[in-house]
Symmetry: C3
Subunit: 366 residues, 3 copies
Amino acid sequence: MTAWAEELRLVDHHCHSVVTDELDAAAFGALLTEAPAPAGDPWDSMLGLAVRRECAPVLDLPRHAPPADYLARRRELGAPVATRRLLAATGSDALLVDHGLRAADLLGLDGLSTAAGAPVAEVVRLEAVAEDVARSGVRPADYADALVEELARRTAGAVACKSILAYRHGFDVPPGRPAPAEVAAAAAEWSRTGGRLADPVLLRHALWCGVDRGLPVQLHTGFGDPDEDLHRANPVLLTDFCRATAGTGTPIVLLHCYPYHREAAWLAQVFPHVWFDVGLASTYVGHRAAEVLAEALELAPFGRLLYSSDAFGLPELYLVAARAFRRAAARVLGGWVAEDQAAEDEVRRIAAMIAGGNARALYRVP
Amino acid sequence: MTAWAEELRLVDHHCHSVVTDELDAAAFGALLTEAPAPAGDPWDSMLGLAVRRECAPVLDLPRHAPPADYLARRRELGAPVATRRLLAATGSDALLVDHGLRAADLLGLDGLSTAAGAPVAEVVRLEAVAEDVARSGVRPADYADALVEELARRTAGAVACKSILAYRHGFDVPPGRPAPAEVAAAAAEWSRTGGRLADPVLLRHALWCGVDRGLPVQLHTGFGDPDEDLHRANPVLLTDFCRATAGTGTPIVLLHCYPYHREAAWLAQVFPHVWFDVGLASTYVGHRAAEVLAEALELAPFGRLLYSSDAFGLPELYLVAARAFRRAAARVLGGWVAEDQAAEDEVRRIAAMIAGGNARALYRVP
Amino acid sequence: MTAWAEELRLVDHHCHSVVTDELDAAAFGALLTEAPAPAGDPWDSMLGLAVRRECAPVLDLPRHAPPADYLARRRELGAPVATRRLLAATGSDALLVDHGLRAADLLGLDGLSTAAGAPVAEVVRLEAVAEDVARSGVRPADYADALVEELARRTAGAVACKSILAYRHGFDVPPGRPAPAEVAAAAAEWSRTGGRLADPVLLRHALWCGVDRGLPVQLHTGFGDPDEDLHRANPVLLTDFCRATAGTGTPIVLLHCYPYHREAAWLAQVFPHVWFDVGLASTYVGHRAAEVLAEALELAPFGRLLYSSDAFGLPELYLVAARAFRRAAARVLGGWVAEDQAAEDEVRRIAAMIAGGNARALYRVP
């Protein structure tokens, strides 16, 4: 790989934290897939090959070591050591972390920062805040105000809000702010039924509370686990939402996007307040990350594409994402130089923007 | 091409049979396209180039022989000889054949087996069985039971069922089993109107009869002839159907999928009972089969991708598909080795899974 | 680049004209993006890199000259000289021009022909004619007849009609001809409300006036500016319209199509009266034009793909599109030869068809 790609400093603008338990083969395998109950060998995938290729040497094994050897060596070192080694090898300057999913199973943000040897900042999951507010026993008529207040409190030190509307409903909702009476009625209904936040009016309301907060609003789009309908998570379905937020001053950040990243790139070209990434895909597609990056760059302004891992649980995923990105940048942007389509200094500048510069400009990166 | 790719043994898990007539230029050309009435020169396509590249040498002509030379030589040898040579050159261990389309024009399954020098097993087209039941004069109230019975009889020696819901309606139907009263009412209506099976309730009913039968259920998805609306044949629209069948024990197999194969790969990752292929595309896209295979493998567990030709009519299509697959495997999986992203023994194992091993595990391959 | 690709003669079957003003950095940058109000540096994109790579040498600068140098040299030469040099370097035999957008800001067709050193013919924008008819004060009851008459007059010397239904509404309209009473009612409503043509009945009516005119009907599909909803501009949504026009004798031409060009290619395969291009994308995606071309050719009959630039405003865009196409043809079709998938004479013949031969067969190219 080209030296400049090895040396890029990364800002991972969207990830989660790592599990703290020692993992047996089944538990490790379950974190290698988006399937709730995987069938077959989870190592038999692009991601599995990438873990063996990129992570085995960091644990002192040969490249492509068999999964059983890898897991044995990982246990021998212990999860804390393996985690530190793998995270350190990513070359990250900062991690922006959504800690709203299964936080109890994961290393806390301070611990993650220590393990990674890099500062960590929080991305606040809007639905998690809304659910805390609802569970607090607030009266339905006071729900909206209470959410605004609680969100202000929880985001005081945060860098972004995040919406999982894609998982809870899909993007087929009206783009605008719901009316207060609608919100109160839906909150009343939710107070009767309980459960997680899934009402489309309240999901939209939470999203707009995020917009009003003024921090960048990240939205999960594209593939993920089967809680979602993939085609209802196509970022292009947010076009009216992009129009509706164009005058607010709040940046909109489309996460992941795959396999709809060409459509996301168009949104980033035509709306000045829209950013996106191809995280998660970078992790899962392994050696194909170069193609995904190249597709994303077809229409995207270079200033609007961000690096992320969207890693969750396994420290291996942070490293695979980082290596996949470096390889992809070397191949795609390096290819422009090799074929005399761009000068090398330009290409290095553009790679540094995507790796971290754009995120530094967008967020208050610690 | 790498030797290991040349030597892969194929199980073609979805194809049709070949025409028996000697073909003039117009008849041959009509089988080179999905257009009902082609305009222009049907050889001017990726498929046309691939036939000239792959099949001409098998008929003792130079590579890239002109179409007229090819057709003359084919007539000289006679269709039976050409068929035997072309099918034998595919390197197939077994063919799983949907014989429910224009069967009267095609070689019977025994004849196909002899010509191919490989065992053949049947895939039973659900709509064809339903139409036979309807034509038998069964009373509408007895239609449902009669279909179950006839399907049991027709699938006794079969390896799979197949649905062409995509052609007859599209995937925009409720995912679940229709109620008996709905089925009876729709059957009564059909008994009055006659014609081919196109009622969405009865199509769903036939599909669920297939699910209940317990054999793998194949569904046509993605591109085909213009009887279908391509966007209503996107396999991702089967997400709710995948959820509905998750507990049944019946495997669901998404056929073809192109150009929605990335979405199909996601379904195969998140649902343990879902398999898919990029057949038909492998035939039509010629030299681009490598890119389609690479895209399909981005998210797919290696154990869930199957080889098929979806060839119909021309023995040339079986060979083009087989050669396209071998070249694609050599380029894509061989590329992982060349770039040290995977070890060669792993890659050969994975290629053998896709070529035939996965089908052997899924079907009772003869 | 291969010599044969350099020597291809182009027929640009869909473009606009160029601005006549001297451009400052802001005005130039605004024409490098589909964003109405770009944020960030518009040169930081594949298109920006391509302008620096392809156009700088034509203005006597080194490849990859910095934007400021480029703009300074352009001003030094003056817009007329720069325009002539850039257009001449495209190697175009003819330009088919939609002059219905911001015509007052652009060079007239005669001026464009002189600057390009090539004949120019007109593509008539249906909505522009309809708006002129409406503004003429015609009675709503006479609107339909007046439009037919005016269209006949305006297309007397034209080569095609063009619809921007995608921008004004999206393709989610009934495919057939609207009834006369519907049209009269909608015309009456429009005469009250005024404004630009956006009523779906009248848009369909204008489109069918184009179909009835008998010249090829071009439709904007795929990406463009944010007036449109990209997913409602997917050409596959025109499937029923393709069915409805199949018997009319009027060719349907799908413009741009990206990122839905694989779906467009399927339409071109299965409907004998459908053509398409990947213009606009060729311009914007820069060095990735080869991949887009390769994807478009997967299913497309070689006789149905057309070259276009869809350039608007900047003469640079005509040259970037032309160079991108030549490079893409050299890489993709040349690659078939290099890997012995097709013979070189075939490949040169196919490249010449796409570059201009298909357009000559489809239109009365001057």
